[in-house]
């Protein structure tokens, strides 16, 4: 706009008046009269200026700028209003965007490959029911099954197999653990990933076993090779041999597992023997044009019987074989890759998104109330403007611009907040040492989402009050302005509805938050039947020690005795399986006529004492239970109930079903131990059998050790590591606090408790702000009436009571609606709760009580203010 030109033009008026005044003085007038006469002759300078201003700023854009300036001024002059409105918006939008970004990264984002929607994963429908050995996070099929699919795949234009495994990079002191993928030759071609440098793995690489080539991810290429160009001499020591680096993948490609990255890709090679019971790979394919996931599934189902017959598992009993033959293959969409995070966090993230959505709703209701309260205080201003001839559309537009400005500032702040929040969320997802790699960077979808939320909030809630404000009849508005005893009926009911909504939604969120916090508390304080504090868990690998198979057991015992001699260590036991940190180990067993699965662990005699699991009857293990002696077992109470219907188990025998490496064996039950949790704290205790480690049929060069110590976990971990490294420097081991390991498995609950708690409090706070605002407003509107009442003799208590009754009614209605909603919403959270039901009465009552208490305070403040009204001042004012 020609602001400068406007200035110039209006300064011209000053000079005109000066000249006229000078002329008048020359005609003999006194200076005062001369100036007056000049002004009389000129007309109204302000009007003229305004006309000039209008002429100069007639364009639409310029009047918007004018509105913006006005809006900004309004924001600055009402800092309290602005702060609450902008903060409500920022929190609502920010929290929503952050959670959405995470959900997007984990769930919605497509793989950065060519036509990701054509990708499908081939899996056994319903899984393999724990049959055989399951090796790897995303392993779904055995290699023999893959070979069958590779030979014949009518629905797919190309198929590939891959799996994920840790890979050792470098040797000696420079050794680092990296995450790798092993891929079939067609992996990159079918995915449509092009090399960033060199070439990627091709089918011919697959046949040269053991492989001699490797492909690096962009990240590892940068960090390890500094992004240097690769040539025929670029070699790295990977998994025990030097391999030539033939290529680098593009930066966008981080593998198929969302939340994991890969550093190294090696070609799969054909081992001497393919195991039909080792489920170790993931198979995916690209659908041919015209094929859908459903039609490919149908085709695979038809093919399944043949494939299963050709790859039949051996060494199992007839029931298992029969089950195997009935496996059906199916195709599943894989456009978004596979994800462990997704499986674990999907429902919690969705729930959190719903929660933040409700927070946004409350924030918007708050905003609407604020806008409404302000619109009513400005009703007179607007009425005057309308009476002076302002166009209705013009006033509406100004109100729109004002709320849009608020929304824009709130949204901008919200986007900033989202960045901070989502970074914090990713950090808290990366529990322990696990590396979670999620690209939650702002993408257009997230931005669109945030902007959409802001725009809708602004238009719907900002304009709703404006419609009425600008629709008001100027005369009525001016007459009633500020007094408003009759005119406010309709507006009141809208505001009340908003407050009731806020209170009821707040209650839902508060009750939900309490549920999750209590659930987390239950989980943290649940007694799993194991004394987990003071325990250290170690996983020890001694592949490089070259221990003969016969001496493996002896070697493990020596390791254990070594550890037991460390100062501070009170006990240590070796075991084949560590409970409570996920993972299971089961066998099918027969006892009498009962035939069912049971969890199995082989452990040294100290196990029960080390873990703090009491023996209830019979005996534990001792030196006499050697590999040569009668096989013995200790079972838990659930086992006794499930298999023996509570009868005395001592002396009974159980027989395991045969599996490769685990021939059918008869164990005599010699003792009963107390129930303890097995796979994780959340699951029901299974039937559980513990046998002596000496009788473990399949000794390998790895073992787990449980160590009880009186010293802090960090000290114990350190001294155990040092002691073992002194004697056996070639041994690799992981050691850490058992309790921390368990707790890191409760991340989902912690996340839910933390975030829902935060949002619940936020919701309550926003709801209370709303209630406070409306009650204050009502008190202000009724101050004449209250003044009259006080003048007629009403005492303070009566006035407070009158206002509180009004607030109490809103609270009661809100809480009642909220309670019903909470009960309905609780069902969605049922599977995420531990140790309490979603319709927990105590939780609901606590939430309602809490809300009522702060609601009482929020309405008492304005009520007290009302009671202190000076009747004379109240009546005279306005």
């Amino acid at each position: 706009m020609s602001w400068k030109r406007y200035r110039q033009r209006s300064s011209e008026i000053e000079s005109h008046l000066a000249m006229e005044t000078a002329d008048n003085i020359a005609r003999g007038m006194t200076p005062g009269d001369a100036a007056d006469a000049a002004r009389r002759k000129f007309g109204n300078p302000t009007l003229i200026r305004e006309e000039i201003y209008r002429m100069n700023t007639a364009s639409w854009l310029e009047s918007i700028l004018q509105d913006l300036r006005h809006g900004a001024r309004m924001m600055v002059t009402n800092p309290g209003f602005t702060l609450i409105a902008v903060l409500s918006l920022a929190l609502g939008i920010g929290a929503n965007t952050a959670i959405f970004q995470l959900l997007n990264a984990v769930r919605l984002r497509s793989l950065p490959v060519r036509a990701p929607h054509e990708l499908a994963e081939v899996k056994i429908v319903g899984g393999n029911h724990g049959m055989g050995v399951n090796n790897g996070l995303y392993a779904e099929l055995t290699r023999p099954i893959w070979e069958e699919i590779r030979r014949d795949h009518p629905a797919f234009s190309g198929v590939f197999a891959w799996n994920q495994q840790g890979m050792a990079l470098g040797e000696g002191k420079d050794f680092v653990d990296t995450s790798g993928i092993v891929v079939s030759g067609d992996f990159f071609r079918v995915l449509g990933v092009d090399p960033w440098r060199g070439r990627l793995i091709a089918p011919e690489d697959e046949h040269t076993c053991p492989g001699s080539v490797a492909v690096l991810s962009y990240g590892l290429w940068q960090s390890r090779l500094g992004g240097r160009e690769i040539d025929a001499n670029t070699k790295l020591f990977i998994e025990g041999r030097y391999r030539q680096i033939v290529g680098v993948t593009p930066p966008s490609f981080q593998g198929l597992a969302v939340g994991d990255r890969f550093d190294i890709a090696l070609p799969a090679c054909m081992p001497k023997e393919l195991y039909t019971n080792s489920f170790e790979i993931n198979v995916m394919g690209r659908l041919k044009p015209g094929w859908t996931v459903a039609s490919a599934s149908a085709q695979l189902a038809g093919q399944s019987a043949g494939i299963m017959a050709a790859t039949e598992i051996t060494g199992y009993d007839s029931t298992s074989v029969k089950k195997y033959r009935q496996f059906l293959l199916g195709a599943y969409p894989a456009a978004h890759g596979v994800s462990n995070l997704r499986n674990t966090y999907d429902s919690s993230l969705r729930l959190l998104l719903a929660i933040t959505g409700l927070v946004l709703l409350i924030a918007c209701a708050n905003l609407a109330n604020l806008m409404l309260a302000r619109a009513s205080t400005r009703e007179r201003e607007i009425a005057v403007r309308l009476a002076l001839g302002a166009a209705r559309g013009r006033v509406m537009r100004q109100l729109l611009v004002e709320s849009a400005l608020l929304a824009a500032v709130g949204a901008a702040l919200g986007v900033g907040l989202a960045e901070v929040l989502s970074r914090a969320l990713v950090i808290s997802l990366a529990n322990g040492g696990d590396n979670v790699v999620l690209s939650t960077g702002m993408d257009w979808r997230v931005l669109l989402f945030a902007a959409g939320v802001a725009a809708v909030t602004c238009v719907v809630f900002g304009m709703a009050p404006s419609f009425r404000a600008s629709g008001a009849d100027p005369v009525t508005a001016m007459r009633s302005g500020g007094r408003g005893m009759t005119a406010g009926r309709e507006r009141f009911s809208f505001q009340r509805a908003m407050v009731v909504t806020q209170i009821s939604v707040s209650l839902v969120l508060l009750a939900g938050a309490l549920l999750f916090v209590r659930s987390f508390y239950n989980l943290m304080n649940f007694n799993p039947g194991i004394r987990e504090e003071g325990l250290t868990v170690a996983f020890i690998g001694f592949e490089k020690s070259n221990i003969a198979k016969d001496h493996m057991e002896e070697f493990k015992r020596e390791l254990k005795e070594d550890v037991r001699s460390i100062p501070g260590v009170t006990n240590a036991a070796i075991t084949t399986h560590v409970p409570l940190i996920g993972g299971s180990w089961g066998h099918q067993i027969t006892i009498g006529k009962m035939d069912d699965g049971a969890a199995f662990t082989w452990a040294s005699p100290e196990y029960f004492e080390t873990m703090g699991i009491p023996l209830l009857s019979g005996r534990g293990f001792n030196q006499a239970d050697t590999a040569m002696a009668q096989r013995v077992a200790v079972v838990n109470q659930t086992f006794v109930r499930h298999f023996l219907n509570g009868a005395d188990p001592i002396g009974q025998t159980l027989r395991t079903h045969p599996e490769p490496g685990y021939p059918s064996t008869v164990y005599q039950i010699v003792g009963v131990m107390a129930d303890s949790k097995y796979q994780n704290v959340r699951d029901e205790t299974p039937s559980f059998v513990i046998a002596p480690i000496t009788q473990f049929p399949d000794h390998g060069p790895v073992t787990a050790m449980m160590i009880r110590s009186t010293l802090p976990a960090a000290v114990t971990v350190d001294s155990v590591k040092r002691r073992i490294a002194e004697r056996h420097p070639e041994i690799s081991m992981y050691a850490g606090s058992f309790q921390e390991r368990i707790r890191s498995g409760m991340l989902r609950e912690r996340l839910l408790a933390m975030l829902s708690g935060f949002f619940g409090l936020l919701a309550a706070l926003l709801g209370m702000l709303g209630l406070y605002g409306v009650i204050s407003y009502i008190v202000m509107q009724r101050r004449n009436e209250i003044g009259i009442r006080v003048a007629l003799g009403a005492n303070r208590g009566q006035v407070v009571g009158m206002v509180m009754r009004q607030a109490g009614l809103l609270l009661v209605i809100g809480v009642a609606i909220g309670a019903v909603l909470s009960l309905a919403a609780g069902r969605a959270a049922e599977s995420l709760l531990f140790g309490l039901k979603p319709n927990d009465a105590l939780t609901l009552a606590t939430a309602a009580g809490l809300l009522a208490a702060i609601g009482g305070v929020a309405s008492f403040l304005p009520a007290r203010r009302a009671s202190k009204l000076d009747p004379m001042a109240a009546l005279r004012c306005d």
């Binding site: 011209e12 000079s15 005109h16 000249m19 000078a22 007309g43 000039i52 002429m55």
Partner: protein, 113 residues
């Protein structure tokens, strides 16, 4: 004597014409223009001085006059206006239209002559 109303369209066009005519001999500032119009009409046309300026700006926006800062006869900073070629053409258009109107009105008033 009659007061020139700001918003009357015929008179507005007339004011435009009077301004253009005033500027025909050479540049002048707003105060001079007002004085000249009043003086020449023997104080019959009393313009509200203020209304002169929006009119001047309008003419400037249409490109009929241009403005520049100068110094007035008694050493005051003043904004001068000068007729452009387009303005001169517009003046002749306006003048001939005005004359047509005057002739027509006269014929109505004195049809017999």
């Amino acid at each position: 004597m009659f007061l020139m109303e700001k918003r009357s369209e015929i008179l507005q066009g007339t004011l435009d014409m009077l301004i253009l005519q005033t500027l025909a001999p050479g540049p002048a500032h707003g105060h001079t223009i007002a004085q000249v119009i009043e003086h020449r009409s023997e104080d019959v046309l009393l313009i509200e001085h203020g209304s002169l300026y929006p009119a001047l700006h309008r003419l400037e926006d249409r490109g009929w006059i241009v403005s520049f800062w100068g110094t007035s006869e008694n050493n005051r900073k003043a904004r001068y206006y000068r007729l452009t070629a387009a303005g001169r053409k517009q003046l002749s258009v306006e003048t001939s239209r005005w004359e047509r109107v005057v002739r027509a009105v006269n014929q109505v008033l004195r049809p017999a002559e």
